[in-house]
């Protein structure tokens, strides 16, 4: 056991810190074009696509260095890169399963955010049970005709391309009849309707596909291999931003402490109230434990070990923690915590999503993590069955299959 950073990693961190301090934008980025420009700058400096192989335009660096970049960005509250779904897992999926043509056509533009990507998986009747999806793709020779509806599509309104799961064999068992495509979002058969989230912003959407075209050359892997491919996609998605996430929590914590020093109750600052102190101590202990656990996962990733189903423990741990964290923060702040425009004395905080806002936004946003990318209940099923080896539950769809 040795938790010191290697000299190379320390030098890498030093360099990233200096670059970010010199280059981080001083004004809020308001438009998509401004965010794309910042993204490109980050990319050119070597801080986007850190993990991607060099042959596809990435930097071929280690998971540790990837985590260091995220951490340093959080430290200076840098606006995040965009196209996270693309770079975090759609691109890696193409790298693993895609053809040379697909790699040449899509990867570089994804990295530079010239083209924005979204994930077209969930449907109104296929959420946790993704394999029951109904969107159809009919084989028309050089292309497939796509009909159906997707929902909760993040970045849908700004996306140029999507990774799509659609049914290509309705007679096969449900996991065996699904294929994976890259779908052009900028075509007449694709209609995107923004959906407003509980935070008030519209980051996700519904996507309606009516005789939309997916080219045959945009089929990923072989026909009906989609479920298998989707499993790798989810695997990449559960990778690591462990350090950066915890640093963001820690920055929010110091803002919380500052607020607890300024706010008074019963004639004394909140920070002197033993009940408030106990709450602060409890959430800070949990926050640190998330950091230690993150380092443990990261050190394994960095040695090339794949966490497999154990990554469900990480996801469950930090998403459930995040809810408790902001619940405690709002308990401490009282009605102050519920303001949707922050009073000047409490700076705006950037939530772990990168969505700018107030404590209230962060509190609301913390409800999302235990739903997307496999809800907490699904993670617990995976942990129970695949990590602990507990017997599978009796399920109606398994009885049929």
């Amino acid at each position: 056991m040795d938790l010191t950073y290697s000299p190379e990693d320390r030098a890498f961190r030093e360099k990233a810190r200096r670059w970010l301090e010199a280059n981080v934008p001083t004004d809020d980025l308001k438009t998509l074009d401004e965010r794309k420009a910042w993204h490109r700058k980050l990319y050119e400096a070597g801080y986007v696509g850190v993990l991607w192989p060099k042959e596809y335009g990435g930097w071929g660096a280690s998971p540790m260095q990837q985590a260091i970049v995220q951490d340093e960005m959080a430290r200076v509250n840098a606006p995040p890169a965009i196209n996270g779904l693309g770079i975090g897992f759609i691109g890696p999926t193409i790298i693993v399963h895609g053809t040379d043509w697909q790699k040449g056509r899509y990867l570089k533009k994804m990295l530079t955010a010239e083209e924005i990507w979204c994930q077209l998986y969930s449907e109104p009747n296929a959420g946790s049970d993704l394999a029951s999806l109904k969107t159809r793709a009919e084989d028309r020779g050089d292309h497939f005709l796509v009909n159906g509806q997707k929902i909760w599509t993040s970045s849908g309104p700004i996306a140029d391309w999507g990774i799509l799961l659609a049914r290509t064999d309705s007679k096969a068992p449900k996991h065996k009849g699904i294929s994976c495509f890259l779908l052009n979002m900028r075509q007449p058969g694709v209609e995107v309707r923004p959906l407003k989230q509980i935070t008030g912003s519209s980051l996700f959407s519904e996507v309606f596909m009516t005789d939309a075209r997916a080219e045959r050359r945009d089929l990923i892997g072989t026909l009906n291999q989609g479920w298998e491919i989707a499993q790798t996609t989810l695997g990449f998605e559960r990778g690591s931003n462990s350090l950066g996430r915890v640093t963001r929590y820690a920055i929010a914590f110091s803002q919380l402490v500052r607020a607890a020093k300024e706010l008074r109750r019963g004639g004394r600052p909140l920070i002197e109230d033993p009940v408030v102190r106990a709450k602060l101590g409890k959430i800070y202990a949990e926050l640190e434990v998330q950091r230690y656990a993150g380092l443990r996962v990261l050190s394994a990733l960095n040695r090339g070990e794949s966490p497999g189903a154990a990554s469900s423990i990480t996801k469950l741990s930090y998403t459930e923690f995040e809810k408790r964290y902001y619940e405690a923060a709002l308990e401490i702040l009282g009605p102050w915590g519920q303001l949707v425009t922050a009073p000047e004395e409490f700076e705006e905080i950037d939530t772990s999503s990168g969505e700018p806002g107030t404590w209230a936004t962060a509190f609301l946003w913390s409800r999302a993590g235990t739903i997307y990318s496999g809800s907490s209940e699904i993670q617990k099923n995976i942990i129970g069955e695949r990590v602990l080896g507990l017997p599978k539950e009796v399920r109606a769809d398994r009885l049929k299959a």
Partner: protein, 372 residues
């Protein structure tokens, strides 16, 4: 950066598991629960031969010169076995003697501890149960031959088998740590019975108890930092032991959930049970990260070592209680019986939760550190 054990550390863990599986079966633990002394003298000797007692002592004193990570590895296995005995207080005391002792004190105690001839303990709590060293009430006054100590120390672990007690007391110079002979005049020991039979706690009353001039450990009046550092090591050590107990309970719960059938299927196939087991695993794995991070931080003198010790104690104390308790729940009625072994580990974890600063104490230390 490597969070996994080295091959030597893994070897230590495996051999400790094998040794305790063989020599500290639940039936043996139960015998010791009923034993007035409460620990096995033969086993203690063997632990000395295995190098466990001198694990973190310098080689010059018969030790192996290893660190807190290795100590935590052993303590986790001891918690996993619910091993009764004064291991943690003895190695903590040895550490303090090694760190602050005079040559004579080190010669007197360290190799005796490493070989298993001597046991030691810490009398950290006064009657008002304040874990802060500055809360110490026991007093020491200068005498012709040295000092006399008066006061009451509560919940002193294993004082009835100890050959030396480390006793903090107030002097006109400030807080001072004394090496006290348990047979000294005016000192009485009154064992208390607690729900964990593997925990022995003793009330130590000092009534003008004489201590020689050579019985001061470290500089007179300067014991505060040494005591704080002992408490930190104690906190990490106790967290490691609680982790072991929690891991044992988790394993027992999962094993039982696979074989116990109700409603025509194993209870582990019910989500109510499976999800509970998943949550227990989550807390055990997080506890593992907390224990070994904090142990490493002490060894590496990392700048957050003090914070990490409090984090580990506060987090693991809560987690181990929940995990061991939920294991009883998973077992249903059988888990509530004396004959079934679960309660050995449940009680072991619960007993350690209150020692070396409870979670409230450590949460306050955390807030002082991060909200200053």
């Amino acid at each position: 950066m490597n969070f996994s054990f080295s091959s030597d550390q893994q070897l230590l863990k495996n051999s400790a598991r094998a040794f305790l599986d063989e020599h500290m079966k639940p039936a043996t633990v139960r015998l010791l629960w009923d034993d007035p002394r409460g620990e096995s003298e033969a086993l203690w000797k063997e632990m000395g031969e295995l190098g466990w007692l001198g694990l973190s002592l310098p080689e010059a004193h018969g030790g192996s010169g290893l660190g807190m990570v290795e100590t935590a590895i052993l303590l986790e296995e001891m918690g996993h076995a619910a091993l009764p005995g004064p291991y943690l207080p003895t190695v903590l005391a040895a550490r303090a003697i090694e760190e602050a002792g005079t040559n004579a004190q080190r010669m007197r105690w360290l190799s005796a501890i490493a070989t298993g001839e001597a046991r030691a303990t810490l009398a950290l709590l006064d009657a008002d149960l304040d874990w802060r060293p500055e809360g110490t009430r026991t007093r020491a006054e200068k005498s012709a031959t040295g000092w006399t100590l008066s006061g009451t120390k509560r919940f002193v672990p294993w004082a009835h088998v100890a050959d030396v007690l480390l006793v903090p007391a107030r002097t006109p110079d400030g807080l001072t740590l004394f090496l006290v002979d348990p047979a000294a005049a005016g000192l009485t020991l009154e064992p208390a019975q607690v729900m964990d039979g593997a925990t022995r706690l003793v009330t130590v009353t000092l009534d003008a108890t004489p201590v020689g001039g050579d019985g001061v450990l470290g500089a007179a009046g300067q014991a505060g930092p040494l005591l704080a550092s002992l408490l930190r090591r104690g906190a990490v050590g106790a967290a490691a032991e609680m982790l072991g107990a929690a891991r044992r309970c988790l394993d027992m719960a999962v094993g039982y959930a696979k074989v116990r059938e109700q409603f025509g299927q194993p209870i582990g196939s019910f989500q109510a049970i499976r999800h509970k087991c998943a949550e227990m695993l989550l807390e055990v794995e997080n506890s593992h990260a907390a224990v070994y991070y904090s142990a490493w931080a002490l060894d590496a003198r990392a700048e957050d070592a003090e914070l990490a010790a409090s984090v580990a104690k506060a987090y693991v104390g809560d987690a181990a209680r929940r995990v061991c308790g939920e294991a009883i729940q998973v077992h249903g009625g059988i888990g509530f019986t004396w004959e079934y072994d679960l309660h050995l580990y449940f009680k072991r974890a619960k007993a350690l939760e209150a020692m070396y600063g409870d979670a409230d104490h450590h949460r306050e230390l955390i807030v002082r550190r991060v909200a200053a």
